[in-house]
Subunit: 252 residues, 2 copies
Amino acid sequence: MADIKLSKIATRAPKGTDKDATKAKTKLLIDEIKVLQDVLIASGKKSILVILQGMDASGKDGVTKNVFGTLNPIGIKVHSFKKPSEEEFAHDFLWRVHQVAPAKGEITIFNRSHYEDVLIQRVHKWIDEKTVSQRFDAINNFEKLLTQNGTVILKFYMHVSQEAQLERLEERKTNPEKMWKHKDQDWEERKLWKQYINAYEDVFKNCSKAAPWQIIPTDHNWYKEFLIARKVRDALKDLKLDYPKLITNIKK
Amino acid sequence: MADIKLSKIATRAPKGTDKDATKAKTKLLIDEIKVLQDVLIASGKKSILVILQGMDASGKDGVTKNVFGTLNPIGIKVHSFKKPSEEEFAHDFLWRVHQVAPAKGEITIFNRSHYEDVLIQRVHKWIDEKTVSQRFDAINNFEKLLTQNGTVILKFYMHVSQEAQLERLEERKTNPEKMWKHKDQDWEERKLWKQYINAYEDVFKNCSKAAPWQIIPTDHNWYKEFLIARKVRDALKDLKLDYPKLITNIKK
Protein backbone atom coordinates (compact mmCIF):
# COMPACT_ATOMS: atom_id res chain seq x y z
CA MET A 1 0.00 0.00 0.00
CA ALA A 2 1.31 3.44 -0.90
CA ASP A 3 2.35 5.53 2.08
CA ILE A 4 -0.53 7.45 3.60
CA LYS A 5 0.16 10.94 4.94
CA LEU A 6 -2.80 11.84 7.12
CA SER A 7 -1.91 15.54 7.04
CA LYS A 8 -2.60 15.50 3.29
CA ILE A 9 -6.07 14.02 3.66
CA ALA A 10 -9.17 16.11 4.37
CA THR A 11 -11.04 15.55 7.63
CA ARG A 12 -14.15 17.33 6.33
CA ALA A 13 -16.74 16.61 3.66
CA PRO A 14 -15.80 18.05 0.25
CA LYS A 15 -17.00 21.66 -0.16
CA GLY A 16 -20.52 21.87 -1.49
CA THR A 17 -21.60 18.42 -0.33
CA ASP A 18 -25.30 18.67 0.47
CA LYS A 19 -25.94 17.50 4.02
CA ASP A 20 -29.61 16.62 3.67
CA ALA A 21 -29.17 14.87 0.34
CA THR A 22 -26.27 12.87 1.79
CA LYS A 23 -28.33 11.85 4.82
CA ALA A 24 -31.11 10.69 2.50
CA LYS A 25 -28.62 8.60 0.54
CA THR A 26 -27.31 7.04 3.75
CA LYS A 27 -30.83 6.03 4.68
CA LEU A 28 -31.27 4.27 1.34
CA LEU A 29 -27.90 2.56 1.72
CA ILE A 30 -28.88 1.22 5.13
CA ASP A 31 -32.11 -0.13 3.66
CA GLU A 32 -30.04 -1.94 1.06
CA ILE A 33 -27.66 -3.27 3.74
CA LYS A 34 -30.64 -4.72 5.62
CA VAL A 35 -31.74 -6.71 2.58
CA LEU A 36 -28.19 -7.91 1.90
CA GLN A 37 -27.69 -8.82 5.58
CA ASP A 38 -30.67 -11.13 5.43
CA VAL A 39 -29.03 -13.10 2.61
CA LEU A 40 -25.69 -13.07 4.47
CA ILE A 41 -27.38 -14.71 7.46
CA ALA A 42 -29.39 -17.16 5.35
CA SER A 43 -26.48 -18.34 3.24
CA GLY A 44 -24.09 -18.75 6.23
CA LYS A 45 -20.98 -18.79 4.08
CA LYS A 46 -19.28 -15.47 4.56
CA SER A 47 -18.83 -12.88 7.30
CA ILE A 48 -17.92 -9.22 7.65
CA LEU A 49 -15.51 -7.77 10.19
CA VAL A 50 -15.64 -4.00 10.56
CA ILE A 51 -12.68 -2.51 12.43
CA LEU A 52 -13.14 1.05 13.71
CA GLN A 53 -10.02 2.86 14.83
CA GLY A 54 -9.33 6.52 15.48
CA MET A 55 -8.48 9.13 18.09
CA ASP A 56 -10.78 9.70 21.05
CA ALA A 57 -14.01 11.41 19.99
CA SER A 58 -13.37 10.62 16.33
CA GLY A 59 -16.87 9.17 16.08
CA LYS A 60 -16.54 5.40 16.42
CA ASP A 61 -19.58 4.99 18.69
CA GLY A 62 -21.68 7.07 16.31
CA VAL A 63 -20.94 4.74 13.39
CA THR A 64 -21.90 1.71 15.43
CA LYS A 65 -25.18 3.30 16.43
CA ASN A 66 -26.18 5.08 13.24
CA VAL A 67 -24.96 2.74 10.50
CA PHE A 68 -25.43 -0.65 12.18
CA GLY A 69 -28.03 0.16 14.83
CA THR A 70 -31.08 -0.88 12.82
CA LEU A 71 -29.73 -4.09 11.28
CA ASN A 72 -31.01 -7.49 12.43
CA PRO A 73 -29.32 -8.00 15.82
CA ILE A 74 -29.30 -11.78 15.30
CA GLY A 75 -26.45 -11.26 12.87
CA ILE A 76 -24.66 -8.28 14.45
CA LYS A 77 -22.08 -8.38 17.24
CA VAL A 78 -20.24 -5.38 18.64
CA HIS A 79 -17.05 -5.70 20.67
CA SER A 80 -15.56 -2.68 22.38
CA PHE A 81 -12.00 -3.45 23.38
CA LYS A 82 -10.92 -1.89 26.65
CA LYS A 83 -7.77 -2.28 28.74
CA PRO A 84 -7.02 -6.03 28.79
CA SER A 85 -7.99 -7.98 31.90
CA GLU A 86 -5.45 -9.92 33.93
CA GLU A 87 -6.49 -13.13 32.17
CA GLU A 88 -6.21 -11.48 28.76
CA PHE A 89 -2.74 -10.17 29.61
CA ALA A 90 -1.70 -13.73 30.50
CA HIS A 91 -2.16 -14.68 26.81
CA ASP A 92 -0.87 -13.37 23.49
CA PHE A 93 -2.44 -10.09 22.34
CA LEU A 94 -4.62 -11.77 19.68
CA TRP A 95 -6.13 -14.31 22.09
CA ARG A 96 -9.08 -12.18 23.15
CA VAL A 97 -9.58 -10.86 19.63
CA HIS A 98 -9.67 -14.23 17.87
CA GLN A 99 -12.37 -15.45 20.26
CA VAL A 100 -14.81 -12.82 19.05
CA ALA A 101 -14.03 -13.05 15.34
CA PRO A 102 -17.27 -13.32 13.34
CA ALA A 103 -18.90 -16.68 12.59
CA LYS A 104 -20.18 -17.32 9.09
CA GLY A 105 -23.30 -15.24 8.50
CA GLU A 106 -22.32 -12.54 11.01
CA ILE A 107 -21.32 -8.90 10.83
CA THR A 108 -18.98 -8.09 13.70
CA ILE A 109 -17.94 -4.56 14.68
CA PHE A 110 -14.70 -4.01 16.54
CA ASN A 111 -14.85 -0.66 18.35
CA ARG A 112 -11.08 -0.39 18.77
CA SER A 113 -9.28 -3.65 18.14
CA HIS A 114 -5.97 -5.54 18.10
CA TYR A 115 -4.53 -2.37 16.58
CA GLU A 116 -4.48 -0.78 20.03
CA ASP A 117 -1.65 -3.22 20.78
CA VAL A 118 0.53 -1.41 18.21
CA LEU A 119 -0.87 2.10 18.91
CA ILE A 120 -1.39 3.09 22.54
CA GLN A 121 1.13 0.47 23.67
CA ARG A 122 3.72 1.76 21.22
CA VAL A 123 3.11 5.47 21.78
CA HIS A 124 3.57 4.98 25.53
CA LYS A 125 6.61 2.74 24.91
CA TRP A 126 5.09 -0.12 26.91
CA ILE A 127 6.47 -2.39 24.20
CA ASP A 128 9.78 -2.27 22.33
CA GLU A 129 10.16 -1.87 18.58
CA LYS A 130 11.00 -5.55 18.08
CA THR A 131 7.65 -6.46 19.60
CA VAL A 132 5.90 -3.89 17.38
CA SER A 133 7.36 -5.51 14.29
CA GLN A 134 6.47 -9.04 15.50
CA ARG A 135 2.93 -7.83 16.14
CA PHE A 136 2.62 -6.32 12.66
CA ASP A 137 3.47 -9.76 11.24
CA ALA A 138 1.11 -11.52 13.64
CA ILE A 139 -1.73 -9.14 12.69
CA ASN A 140 -1.17 -9.73 8.97
CA ASN A 141 -1.14 -13.49 9.52
CA PHE A 142 -4.26 -13.36 11.68
CA GLU A 143 -6.17 -11.24 9.17
CA LYS A 144 -5.06 -13.58 6.37
CA LEU A 145 -6.42 -16.55 8.29
CA LEU A 146 -9.80 -14.84 8.68
CA THR A 147 -9.85 -13.73 5.06
CA GLN A 148 -9.07 -17.24 3.79
CA ASN A 149 -11.96 -18.47 5.88
CA GLY A 150 -14.49 -16.20 4.17
CA THR A 151 -14.32 -13.06 6.31
CA VAL A 152 -14.24 -9.70 4.56
CA ILE A 153 -12.35 -7.23 6.75
CA LEU A 154 -13.25 -3.54 6.46
CA LYS A 155 -10.79 -1.33 8.31
CA PHE A 156 -11.80 2.27 8.85
CA TYR A 157 -9.57 4.99 10.23
CA MET A 158 -11.78 7.73 11.60
CA HIS A 159 -9.90 10.83 10.47
CA VAL A 160 -10.78 13.72 12.78
CA SER A 161 -9.03 17.08 12.98
CA GLN A 162 -7.47 18.31 16.20
CA GLU A 163 -9.95 21.21 16.21
CA ALA A 164 -13.02 19.00 15.82
CA GLN A 165 -11.70 16.69 18.56
CA LEU A 166 -11.21 19.65 20.89
CA GLU A 167 -14.78 20.81 20.28
CA ARG A 168 -16.14 17.34 21.01
CA LEU A 169 -14.06 16.83 24.15
CA GLU A 170 -15.17 20.25 25.39
CA GLU A 171 -18.80 19.37 24.72
CA ARG A 172 -18.43 16.34 27.00
CA LYS A 173 -17.68 18.73 29.86
CA THR A 174 -20.83 20.78 29.36
CA ASN A 175 -23.53 18.62 27.70
CA PRO A 176 -25.26 16.53 30.41
CA GLU A 177 -25.99 13.78 27.87
CA LYS A 178 -22.33 13.46 26.97
CA MET A 179 -20.64 13.87 30.35
CA TRP A 180 -20.51 10.10 30.83
CA LYS A 181 -18.07 9.96 27.96
CA HIS A 182 -15.64 12.41 29.52
CA LYS A 183 -12.35 10.91 30.67
CA ASP A 184 -9.42 12.91 31.99
CA GLN A 185 -7.20 10.42 30.22
CA ASP A 186 -8.44 11.63 26.80
CA TRP A 187 -6.87 15.02 27.47
CA GLU A 188 -3.57 13.34 28.28
CA GLU A 189 -3.67 11.23 25.11
CA ARG A 190 -4.47 14.36 23.08
CA LYS A 191 -1.05 15.72 23.96
CA LEU A 192 0.46 12.75 22.10
CA TRP A 193 -1.38 13.59 18.86
CA LYS A 194 1.73 13.63 16.65
CA GLN A 195 2.99 10.32 18.05
CA TYR A 196 -0.39 8.72 17.43
CA ILE A 197 -0.48 10.00 13.84
CA ASN A 198 2.98 8.50 13.26
CA ALA A 199 1.96 5.20 14.79
CA TYR A 200 -1.19 5.10 12.66
CA GLU A 201 0.70 5.88 9.46
CA ASP A 202 3.07 3.05 10.29
CA VAL A 203 0.11 0.71 10.81
CA PHE A 204 -1.34 1.65 7.40
CA LYS A 205 2.03 0.91 5.82
CA ASN A 206 2.66 -2.40 7.57
CA CYS A 207 -0.79 -3.85 8.12
CA SER A 208 -2.63 -3.53 4.84
CA LYS A 209 -1.70 -6.90 3.35
CA ALA A 210 -4.79 -8.94 4.14
CA ALA A 211 -7.16 -5.98 3.92
CA PRO A 212 -6.59 -2.31 3.09
CA TRP A 213 -7.21 0.63 5.40
CA GLN A 214 -9.79 3.20 4.41
CA ILE A 215 -9.37 6.75 5.66
CA ILE A 216 -12.76 8.26 6.54
CA PRO A 217 -13.05 12.04 7.13
CA THR A 218 -15.08 12.34 10.33
CA ASP A 219 -15.35 16.01 11.16
CA HIS A 220 -18.89 15.81 9.75
CA ASN A 221 -20.73 12.84 11.23
CA TRP A 222 -23.31 12.75 8.43
CA TYR A 223 -20.58 12.45 5.81
CA LYS A 224 -18.66 9.75 7.71
CA GLU A 225 -21.83 7.69 8.08
CA PHE A 226 -22.56 7.95 4.39
CA LEU A 227 -19.05 6.81 3.40
CA ILE A 228 -19.03 3.85 5.75
CA ALA A 229 -22.55 2.76 4.83
CA ARG A 230 -21.53 2.83 1.17
CA LYS A 231 -18.40 0.74 1.80
CA VAL A 232 -20.39 -1.82 3.77
CA ARG A 233 -23.12 -2.00 1.11
CA ASP A 234 -20.48 -2.45 -1.60
CA ALA A 235 -18.70 -5.19 0.35
CA LEU A 236 -21.94 -7.09 0.91
CA LYS A 237 -22.95 -6.71 -2.72
CA ASP A 238 -19.56 -7.94 -3.93
CA LEU A 239 -20.11 -11.21 -2.07
CA LYS A 240 -22.85 -12.06 -4.61
CA LEU A 241 -24.66 -14.29 -2.15
CA ASP A 242 -28.01 -15.94 -2.74
CA TYR A 243 -30.67 -17.48 -0.53
CA PRO A 244 -30.00 -21.23 -0.37
CA LYS A 245 -32.43 -23.42 -2.32
CA LEU A 246 -34.86 -25.67 -0.51
CA ILE A 247 -33.38 -28.93 0.74
CA THR A 248 -35.92 -31.55 1.83
CA ASN A 249 -36.46 -35.27 1.79
CA ILE A 250 -40.10 -35.00 2.71
CA LYS A 251 -42.27 -36.31 -0.15
CA LYS A 252 -45.67 -34.78 -0.60
CA MET B 1 13.85 -29.90 9.46
CA ALA B 2 15.31 -32.93 7.69
CA ASP B 3 12.73 -35.25 6.18
CA ILE B 4 11.45 -37.82 8.64
CA LYS B 5 10.71 -41.32 7.32
CA LEU B 6 8.63 -43.02 9.97
CA SER B 7 9.33 -46.47 8.52
CA LYS B 8 13.00 -45.96 9.43
CA ILE B 9 12.27 -45.12 13.06
CA ALA B 10 11.81 -47.77 15.74
CA THR B 11 8.45 -48.07 17.50
CA ARG B 12 9.91 -50.10 20.38
CA ALA B 13 12.34 -49.39 23.18
CA PRO B 14 15.95 -50.14 22.24
CA LYS B 15 16.90 -53.76 22.89
CA GLY B 16 18.14 -54.37 26.41
CA THR B 17 16.41 -51.34 27.95
CA ASP B 18 15.53 -52.30 31.51
CA LYS B 19 11.82 -51.83 32.09
CA ASP B 20 11.87 -51.50 35.88
CA ALA B 21 14.88 -49.21 35.90
CA THR B 22 13.23 -47.01 33.27
CA LYS B 23 10.02 -46.84 35.27
CA ALA B 24 12.01 -45.79 38.35
CA LYS B 25 13.69 -43.04 36.34
CA THR B 26 10.32 -41.81 35.08
CA LYS B 27 9.13 -41.55 38.67
CA LEU B 28 12.11 -39.38 39.57
CA LEU B 29 11.56 -37.22 36.50
CA ILE B 30 7.94 -36.62 37.46
CA ASP B 31 9.07 -35.58 40.96
CA GLU B 32 11.41 -33.08 39.33
CA ILE B 33 8.64 -31.84 37.05
CA LYS B 34 6.43 -31.19 40.10
CA VAL B 35 9.06 -28.97 41.68
CA LEU B 36 9.66 -27.12 38.41
CA GLN B 37 5.91 -26.71 37.82
CA ASP B 38 5.56 -24.93 41.15
CA VAL B 39 8.09 -22.32 39.99
CA LEU B 40 6.36 -22.08 36.59
CA ILE B 41 3.09 -21.22 38.34
CA ALA B 42 4.70 -18.84 40.83
CA SER B 43 6.68 -16.89 38.27
CA GLY B 44 3.77 -16.57 35.80
CA LYS B 45 5.98 -15.68 32.86
CA LYS B 46 6.10 -18.72 30.63
CA SER B 47 3.85 -21.59 29.63
CA ILE B 48 4.13 -25.06 28.14
CA LEU B 49 1.94 -26.46 25.39
CA VAL B 50 2.19 -30.23 24.91
CA ILE B 51 0.70 -31.50 21.65
CA LEU B 52 0.00 -35.23 21.47
CA GLN B 53 -0.69 -36.66 18.04
CA GLY B 54 -0.71 -40.22 16.74
CA MET B 55 -2.85 -43.01 15.35
CA ASP B 56 -5.75 -44.41 17.35
CA ALA B 57 -4.51 -46.43 20.35
CA SER B 58 -1.03 -44.98 20.05
CA GLY B 59 -1.12 -44.13 23.74
CA LYS B 60 -2.07 -40.45 24.00
CA ASP B 61 -4.48 -40.89 26.91
CA GLY B 62 -1.86 -42.90 28.80
CA VAL B 63 0.65 -40.04 28.59
CA THR B 64 -1.88 -37.56 29.91
CA LYS B 65 -2.72 -39.82 32.86
CA ASN B 66 0.71 -41.21 33.72
CA VAL B 67 3.04 -38.30 33.04
CA PHE B 68 0.81 -35.34 33.93
CA GLY B 69 -1.75 -36.96 36.23
CA THR B 70 -0.02 -36.14 39.52
CA LEU B 71 1.00 -32.55 38.77
CA ASN B 72 -0.73 -29.63 40.48
CA PRO B 73 -4.09 -29.39 38.69
CA ILE B 74 -4.22 -25.64 39.30
CA GLY B 75 -1.63 -25.29 36.55
CA ILE B 76 -2.64 -28.14 34.22
CA LYS B 77 -5.31 -28.06 31.54
CA VAL B 78 -6.15 -30.90 29.18
CA HIS B 79 -8.10 -30.39 25.95
CA SER B 80 -9.24 -33.36 23.90
CA PHE B 81 -10.23 -32.17 20.45
CA LYS B 82 -13.16 -34.04 18.94
CA LYS B 83 -15.17 -33.48 15.77
CA PRO B 84 -15.82 -29.71 15.62
CA SER B 85 -19.23 -28.44 16.71
CA GLU B 86 -21.46 -26.45 14.38
CA GLU B 87 -20.30 -23.22 16.02
CA GLU B 88 -16.65 -24.25 15.67
CA PHE B 89 -17.15 -25.08 12.00
CA ALA B 90 -18.58 -21.59 11.47
CA HIS B 91 -15.13 -20.17 12.30
CA ASP B 92 -11.60 -20.71 11.02
CA PHE B 93 -9.97 -23.98 12.15
CA LEU B 94 -7.70 -22.29 14.70
CA TRP B 95 -10.54 -20.44 16.45
CA ARG B 96 -11.34 -23.16 18.96
CA VAL B 97 -7.67 -23.96 19.45
CA HIS B 98 -6.49 -20.43 20.18
CA GLN B 99 -9.15 -20.04 22.90
CA VAL B 100 -7.60 -22.83 24.96
CA ALA B 101 -3.96 -21.89 24.44
CA PRO B 102 -2.13 -21.84 27.80
CA ALA B 103 -2.02 -18.73 29.98
CA LYS B 104 1.29 -17.76 31.55
CA GLY B 105 2.11 -20.21 34.33
CA GLU B 106 0.14 -23.07 32.80
CA ILE B 107 0.94 -26.43 31.25
CA THR B 108 -1.68 -27.29 28.64
CA ILE B 109 -2.03 -30.70 27.02
CA PHE B 110 -3.67 -31.01 23.61
CA ASN B 111 -4.90 -34.57 23.13
CA ARG B 112 -5.15 -34.28 19.36
CA SER B 113 -5.01 -30.70 18.12
CA HIS B 114 -5.17 -28.33 15.16
CA TYR B 115 -3.08 -30.93 13.33
CA GLU B 116 -6.22 -33.02 12.82
CA ASP B 117 -7.26 -30.30 10.37
CA VAL B 118 -4.38 -31.30 8.09
CA LEU B 119 -4.54 -35.05 8.88
CA ILE B 120 -7.98 -36.68 9.05
CA GLN B 121 -9.42 -33.89 6.89
CA ARG B 122 -6.71 -34.34 4.27
CA VAL B 123 -6.67 -38.15 4.26
CA HIS B 124 -10.43 -38.18 3.65
CA LYS B 125 -10.09 -35.41 1.05
CA TRP B 126 -12.58 -33.18 2.86
CA ILE B 127 -10.24 -30.30 2.04
CA ASP B 128 -8.27 -29.60 -1.14
CA GLU B 129 -4.49 -29.33 -1.34
CA LYS B 130 -4.58 -25.54 -1.57
CA THR B 131 -6.33 -25.44 1.79
CA VAL B 132 -3.77 -27.86 3.23
CA SER B 133 -0.95 -25.57 2.23
CA GLN B 134 -2.77 -22.48 3.60
CA ARG B 135 -3.31 -24.33 6.86
CA PHE B 136 0.36 -25.30 7.14
CA ASP B 137 1.21 -21.59 6.93
CA ALA B 138 -1.51 -20.65 9.38
CA ILE B 139 -0.28 -23.28 11.86
CA ASN B 140 3.30 -22.03 11.63
CA ASN B 141 2.14 -18.45 12.15
CA PHE B 142 -0.06 -19.43 15.08
CA GLU B 143 2.69 -21.40 16.79
CA LYS B 144 5.10 -18.51 16.22
CA LEU B 145 2.67 -16.14 17.90
CA LEU B 146 2.45 -18.41 20.95
CA THR B 147 6.22 -18.94 21.04
CA GLN B 148 6.90 -15.20 20.90
CA ASN B 149 4.55 -14.78 23.82
CA GLY B 150 6.52 -17.15 26.06
CA THR B 151 4.93 -20.52 25.28
CA VAL B 152 7.22 -23.50 24.78
CA ILE B 153 5.54 -25.94 22.40
CA LEU B 154 6.39 -29.63 22.72
CA LYS B 155 5.02 -31.66 19.83
CA PHE B 156 5.05 -35.43 20.24
CA TYR B 157 4.20 -37.92 17.54
CA MET B 158 3.23 -41.19 19.20
CA HIS B 159 4.91 -43.71 16.94
CA VAL B 160 3.08 -47.03 17.22
CA SER B 161 3.50 -50.07 14.94
CA GLN B 162 0.55 -51.51 13.03
CA GLU B 163 0.94 -54.73 15.03
CA ALA B 164 0.87 -53.02 18.42
CA GLN B 165 -2.16 -50.98 17.33
CA LEU B 166 -3.96 -54.15 16.23
CA GLU B 167 -3.30 -55.75 19.61
CA ARG B 168 -4.63 -52.71 21.46
CA LEU B 169 -7.74 -52.36 19.30
CA GLU B 170 -8.45 -56.09 19.79
CA GLU B 171 -8.06 -55.70 23.55
CA ARG B 172 -10.78 -53.04 23.52
CA LYS B 173 -13.19 -55.69 22.24
CA THR B 174 -12.49 -58.14 25.06
CA ASN B 175 -11.28 -56.22 28.14
CA PRO B 176 -14.34 -54.88 30.03
CA GLU B 177 -12.31 -51.92 31.33
CA LYS B 178 -11.37 -50.86 27.81
CA MET B 179 -14.57 -51.53 25.88
CA TRP B 180 -15.65 -47.89 26.31
CA LYS B 181 -12.74 -46.91 24.09
CA HIS B 182 -13.83 -49.14 21.21
CA LYS B 183 -15.07 -47.34 18.13
CA ASP B 184 -15.96 -49.01 14.84
CA GLN B 185 -14.53 -45.95 13.14
CA ASP B 186 -11.02 -46.80 14.40
CA TRP B 187 -11.07 -49.97 12.28
CA GLU B 188 -12.01 -47.91 9.23
CA GLU B 189 -9.25 -45.37 9.86
CA ARG B 190 -6.75 -48.23 10.28
CA LYS B 191 -7.27 -49.14 6.63
CA LEU B 192 -5.89 -45.71 5.73
CA TRP B 193 -2.61 -46.32 7.60
CA LYS B 194 -0.33 -45.51 4.66
CA GLN B 195 -2.21 -42.31 3.85
CA TYR B 196 -1.98 -41.19 7.48
CA ILE B 197 1.77 -41.90 7.57
CA ASN B 198 2.21 -39.79 4.43
CA ALA B 199 0.13 -36.97 5.86
CA TYR B 200 2.12 -37.07 9.11
CA GLU B 201 5.45 -37.01 7.32
CA ASP B 202 4.25 -33.99 5.38
CA VAL B 203 3.26 -32.28 8.62
CA PHE B 204 6.73 -32.89 10.11
CA LYS B 205 8.27 -31.39 6.99
CA ASN B 206 6.03 -28.33 6.79
CA CYS B 207 5.13 -27.55 10.38
CA SER B 208 8.35 -27.65 12.35
CA LYS B 209 9.28 -23.98 12.04
CA ALA B 210 8.07 -22.63 15.34
CA ALA B 211 8.70 -25.87 17.25
CA PRO B 212 10.15 -29.22 16.15
CA TRP B 213 8.33 -32.55 16.17
CA GLN B 214 9.63 -35.32 18.38
CA ILE B 215 8.99 -38.91 17.34
CA ILE B 216 8.27 -41.06 20.39
CA PRO B 217 8.30 -44.89 20.05
CA THR B 218 5.13 -46.00 21.81
CA ASP B 219 4.89 -49.78 21.46
CA HIS B 220 6.13 -49.92 25.06
CA ASN B 221 4.13 -47.58 27.25
CA TRP B 222 6.78 -47.44 29.99
CA TYR B 223 9.41 -46.30 27.49
CA LYS B 224 7.16 -43.69 25.91
CA GLU B 225 6.35 -42.23 29.32
CA PHE B 226 10.00 -42.03 30.22
CA LEU B 227 10.91 -40.18 27.01
CA ILE B 228 8.11 -37.67 27.32
CA ALA B 229 8.73 -37.04 31.01
CA ARG B 230 12.37 -36.36 30.21
CA LYS B 231 11.50 -33.92 27.41
CA VAL B 232 9.08 -32.06 29.66
CA ARG B 233 11.59 -31.92 32.53
CA ASP B 234 14.27 -30.62 30.15
CA ALA B 235 11.95 -27.96 28.72
CA LEU B 236 10.98 -26.73 32.19
CA LYS B 237 14.60 -26.70 33.34
CA ASP B 238 15.71 -24.76 30.24
CA LEU B 239 13.31 -21.96 31.19
CA LYS B 240 15.57 -21.19 34.18
CA LEU B 241 12.72 -19.71 36.17
CA ASP B 242 12.93 -18.54 39.78
CA TYR B 243 10.41 -17.84 42.50
CA PRO B 244 9.66 -14.10 42.42
CA LYS B 245 11.13 -12.06 45.26
CA LEU B 246 8.90 -10.56 47.93
CA ILE B 247 7.20 -7.32 46.91
CA THR B 248 5.62 -5.37 49.77
CA ASN B 249 5.02 -1.83 50.91
CA ILE B 250 4.02 -2.86 54.42
CA LYS B 251 6.54 -1.52 56.93
CA LYS B 252 7.07 -3.61 60.04
